[in-house]
Symmetry: C2
Subunit: 335 residues, 2 copies
DNA sequence: CTGTTAGCGCTTTCAT
DNA sequence: ATGAAAGCGCTAACAG
């Protein structure tokens, strides 16, 4: 374990002071072109390696951004995360990743860890805990900037949100336009804000068309992405609905084979729509009408936003709402 | 911006020295129970916040592990990454994430960045660059431990590998057993080691059954996960193969609708198999025969491995090869 | 444009 | 069981 080369070694070997070396290394314009070149060459020659620990200690910055996501094995979140990583990397930042797995306890732990690690900023995807608490404090008081994705309410943090409400409204309206009058809505739950917004968009569209919001056509089942047990409730009605709008593609794709094996023809008997444009929706038969959110763009946008809040983006970044798109496929239209 | 509380402030307030505070905070056993309690209470009271920068500077450790993955929007890799994050988190480590996007340039950049960031260890998923080079050096010389997943050859790094070769051999053998004699293999390329191993396993199985390896039945097309253009080559043969073994489920799922729309019956005319057990394979019709790899276990295993190499695992961890499983579904068997 | 000086906050011998 | 003292390697006034 030989002694490591420091800027002092370079300074000595190049007959300048350590501060000059430090400045040259950081390409401060105040250092002459020639001097800098000499110093850089010497650093290279000696095998110098920058020590971020010492730098961090002085500057109190890490160039690390924390990201908390509910899960990774999901088309939407993995896309968003991919966009974030790409953009942060390009900006010279590291992405520190934690998963909440939809569990408040893990989410809090992740927040604490990121705070202790002194990240320069944080991006929260689909937060579990919407209320301020002892853990969120350091972030919510503005000490460390936070961008929240997909939640309209979070302790005053900046927000990049896809417009779940409008998208859901448009999708529901599409179903009405193709002739549906009894549209069921299946969702995992309303605690996650984005799902709540989808439910509200659905209701609003019905009301706009003077259709009633029928209570037992709104099905909330946190297992709906895993098994379609709740469909019994629908089948036990005297008449089937003429459409089902699933708040997530995965839920739709889970239900479709079950529906078909029960003799339900799609879209003739029931029209189906999902939400999220998961690749599954292009594979399932019939292909699934859904909403696309450009997850990668959501990610890139939130990354740029956090960098701008940190002040590392020269041009001030004004987050644009990421545009969604209605994707109409066979499951909602007769051929 | 008020002055931050340091261990010196605690020391003063508790009438002890800074070193005692430091030891108490780290729960060194040499500090008396009573003293420690007093110190911790005082720290709490003053709102002390540990400063990892100073600690890092002294100890030269970060408790950060770098992870490089080709991509995130992929069933296998996102599963592995999920397992890694979970396990590292549990061990008190942060996961620093970078994507190579299958591009050697980005991979090298990620390696450099992680090295500069002084991560304590690194996990590489599906490395693009298999040869040692200037970037890998610091990692390959053992200065920083590395675990590589899914590649049997990488600059002497420790390796957690799923056994692509055997899995591929078994899958091919299954196809032979159900009666196939002309089995095509479609793969994205052989530069990624795991795909090369799958190709080799395929060839070996054919040879074991005294079947020839037909050159134009091995199709290498880096776009095969996006579009099935290469199928023309297969259709232009005088006779169709009686099976196609796709080196990835995504490629299989991309091709199947195209095959069926060309009047190919599956499995009657051509039997199909994929690789990876992507959820898509349960949705597509007919459901896809494939190999499952328990990606989360692969991730957890590699995380434990790296922690053990760092010396942060008390029990020495001996990585077990993660067991794969042949999943037989409709695409390869007649009902 | 470059040098001097004084730390950043913690850990770690070495004493006692 | 506790304290004194010496840095870890870099950066940022301030001075010239």
């Amino acid at each position: 374990m030989s002694k490591h080369i420091t800027i002092y070694d370079i300074a000595e070997a190049s007959q300048v002071s350590a501060s000059t070396v430090s400045r040259a290394l950081r390409k401060e314009p105040s250092i002459g072109r020639e001097t800098r070149k000499r110093i850089l060459a010497k650093a290279e020659e000696l095998g110098y390696r920058f020590n971020p620990f010492a730098s961090n200690l002085r500057t109190n910055r890490t160039r690390n951004i924390g990201v908390i996501t509910p899960k990774l094995d999901d088309y939407y979140f993995s896309g968003v995360l991919g966009g974030i990583e790409r953009e942060l990397s390009n900006g010279g930042y590291n992405t520190i990743l934690h998963q909440s797995l939809g569990c408040a306890h893990r989410e809090k732990a992740a927040i604490s860890t990121l705070h202790r690690s002194r990240v320069d900023g944080m991006i929260m995807l689909g937060p579990v805990v919407a209320q301020e608490n002892e853990y969120t404090q350091a972030f919510s008081n503005g000490e460390v900037p936070v961008v929240v994705v997909d939640s309209s309410a979070w302790w005053g943090a900046r927000n990049i949100s896809v417009d779940n409400y409008t998208a859901s409204y448009e999708l529901t309206t599409h179903l009405i336009q193709v002739g549906c009058r009894e549209i069921a809505h299946v969702t995992t739950g309303t605690t996650v804000t984005s799902f709540n917004e989808r439910l509200n968009g659905y209701k609003a569209a019905l009301q706009y068309s003077s259709l009633p919001v029928v209570e037992n056509l709104v099905i909330i089942d946190d297992k709906c992405e895993t098994s379609p047990d709740y469909l019994d409730r629908l089948f036990s009605r005297e008449r089937l609905p003429d459409a089902i709008f699933f708040a997530s593609d995965v839920a739709a794709v889970t239900a479709i084979p079950f529906l078909r094996s029960n003799g339900v023809r799609i879209p003739e008997d029931i029209r189906i729509a999902g939400f999220g444009n998961d690749p599954l929706g292009r594979i399932i038969e019939p292909t699934l009408t859904t909403i696309d959110f450009a997850p990668v763009d959501v990610g890139r946008s939130s990354a740029r936003h956090i960098l701008s809040l940190i002040g590392d983006l020269h041009s001030k970044f004004e987050p644009q709402p990421v545009k969604h798109q209605l994707i109409i496929r066979h499951s909602s239209t007769t051929k």
